[in-house]
């Protein structure tokens, strides 16, 4: 079975400096979950941005390929890439307070993707957006959809972001530290919601986090990154029980202190 997402020897860097991501290789099967574990600055978020084609301008693509559903993303032109990625890859960011446009109603932000990729008219997209808000636990959807982001709490915004990312029925959901900015209770609810939605909808999940517990809650397999390289890969439980790499051990030790 060929992987849904295949990152193959990805190398990224800035200016003349050494690679910040060096030869990163990992893959994710359709419907499965993969944790991308690593400390801040280990290159995990940058790898995810590379998958989405959202690298900062100063960042150079120095080598490797990213295959989505067998297609080399670097070979697609901008329009084809937008059509492919927008509809089939969803993204949830870390910071719920800056990830929603403060000037647009929440419902309109969810409806935007629906109108773009599913060709729904305004009324149908609005209904669909409201239904999505209810599905992520923000009822009543129709009135929530008319609210602005500043009227939502952090946890509610993160749910809205999840609705936005999933509305077009993506086959891959990338979560970049989606629970880091939330308190423990909300974090647990969010992960539970994510698990339930994945079970119902069957999307593949790439969960980026520095938090072992978060990865363990949603993913069976994980890769550990340090200094831009993949240093360990395998089942989450075996990484937890018997970490092979220094990076994984250090994360475990730091966790033990807490």
């Amino acid at each position: 079975m060929s992987a849904l997402l295949q990152v193959d020897g990805l190398s990224l860097g800035f200016g003349d400096a050494p690679d910040v991501v060096h030869g990163a290789t990992f893959s994710l099967e359709a419907g499965q979950s993969l944790g991308l574990l690593g400390a801040s600055g280990s290159g995990k978020s940058l790898s995810a941005l590379a998958v989405l084609g959202l690298l900062p301008e100063a960042c150079q693509w120095r080598g490797g390929r990213v295959l989505f559903d067998g297609q080399d993303l670097a070979l697609l032109d901008a329009g084809a890439r937008r059509a492919l990625c927008g509809a089939s890859i969803g993204l949830v960011f870390q910071e719920p307070f800056t990830a929603l446009n403060p000037l647009l109603r929440v419902g309109d932000q969810i409806a935007e993707g629906l109108r773009l990729h599913k060709g729904l008219d305004r009324a149908a997209a609005d209904r669909e957006a409201a239904a999505w808000l209810e599905r992520v636990g923000l009822a009543p959807g129709a009135s929530r959809a008319r609210q602005y982001p500043h009227q939502f709490s952090g946890g509610m915004r993160q749910r809205a972001l999840l609705a936005m990312a999933l509305a077009c029925g993506p086959r891959l959901l990338i979560c970049d530290e989606p629970t880091t900015a939330l308190d423990a209770t909300v974090q647990a609810q969010m992960l539970e919601l994510l698990r339930r939605l994945q079970r119902d909808l069957g999307f593949a999940l790439l969960m980026i986090s520095h938090d072992l517990a978060v990865i363990r809650a949603v993913a069976g397999r994980a890769v550990v990154m340090e200094a831009g390289q993949v240093v360990e890969a395998g089942a989450v439980d075996s990484i937890l029980q018997d970490p092979q790499s220094g990076a994984a051990r250090r994360l475990m030790d730091a966790y033990a202190v807490l």
């Binding site: 937008r82 059509a83 990625c85 927008g86 800056t98 990830a99 446009n101």
Partner: protein
């Protein structure tokens, strides 16, 4: 958390109403002016303010009140169109510059640098002399020299906005760059532009007055507040009203607009209490 800030209240509301009244007077000049602003009555030459000629008459016996009411049309129209024009041009160029970056940014910003390093008044006067005097040229020249500040302002905002997560999220969702720029980035960059626009209107009215005072703006017999001031200069010793009333009109309008600009600045400043 405090409720939403109310913009129209207290002195700001008063200033807004006064400006609305002024604009209404300008629009309705045809019906409000007591007499034809260009009607010459040489026998009434330099008549002092009094009944039937509340603000006095000029050297050709024309009614100053009527001329000021019609002059308001010119002054306000030039102020608005020139300020809106330079804001529009500046916002678009600044947004494109900041969002696209690269050589587009270089070209636009170096053009702005060149314009900004030539003294403003010198540039305006030179261009008017080249293009010829007249109200359309005054508007064009104000737009041409005035867009640079706005462009820099918007470019800076766009630069900081385009790496924000909601913009990345919009890009990830496959939206077209133009849509992202005009729906997600630009609206979030507009708050300082509204503030700048208000002050821009005041600046443009002042610039028009200055140019008309120098004879480079409206051409006789059309009046603007600046040209009335200029006419009055010649008869200052005999007729104080010819400079005092147009001068007051400019002064009061500036104060009112600046009140709005200052209120707008406070309104969009998160650190200011409501």
């Amino acid at each position: 958390m405090a409720g939403p800030k109310v913009f129209w209240k207290g002195p700001t509301l008063a200033a807004g109403l006064a400006l609305a009244a002024l604009a209404a007077v300008a629009v309705l000049a045809h019906w409000l002016a007591p007499s034809d602003p260009d009607k010459i009555d040489i026998l009434q030459r330099l008549a002092a303010p009094g009944p039937g000629q509340w603000l006095g008459r000029d050297a050709l016996g024309r009614d100053l009140l009527s001329r000021m009411i019609y002059g308001a049309q010119v002054s306000l129209a030039v102020g608005l169109t020139a300020a809106l024009g330079s804001t529009l041009v500046g916002s678009l160029l600044g947004a494109v510059s900041g969002y696209l970056g690269g050589w587009v940014d270089e070209v636009i910003m170096r053009c702005a640098d060149v314009l900004m390093c030539i003294p403003g008044l010198f540039l305006v006067l030179t261009l008017i002399v080249v293009l010829g005097p007249g109200i359309t040229n005054v508007v064009l020249v104000i737009i041409f020299t005035g867009w640079t500040d706005i462009a820099r302002l918007v470019r800076g905002e766009v630069l900081s906005l385009k790496s924000r997560e909601f913009v990345l999220a919009a890009r990830a969702s496959g939206a077209h760059p133009a849509r992202i720029l005009f729906r997600h980035v630009l609206p979030n960059a507009m708050a300082p532009v509204y503030v700048s626009l208000t002050f821009g209107i005041a600046g443009s009215i002042l610039m028009e007055s200055g140019l008309s005072f120098l004879g480079l703006g409206v051409q006789p017999p059309t009046a603007s507040w600046g040209s009335l001031l200029s006419d009055g200069r010649e008869t200052l010793h005999e007729a104080w009203w010819m400079v005092v009333f147009p001068g007051l009109a400019i002064l009061v309008t500036m104060l009112l607009i600046n009140q709005l600009g200052e209120a707008a600045r406070r309104h969009y400043d998160p650190k200011e209490p409501a």
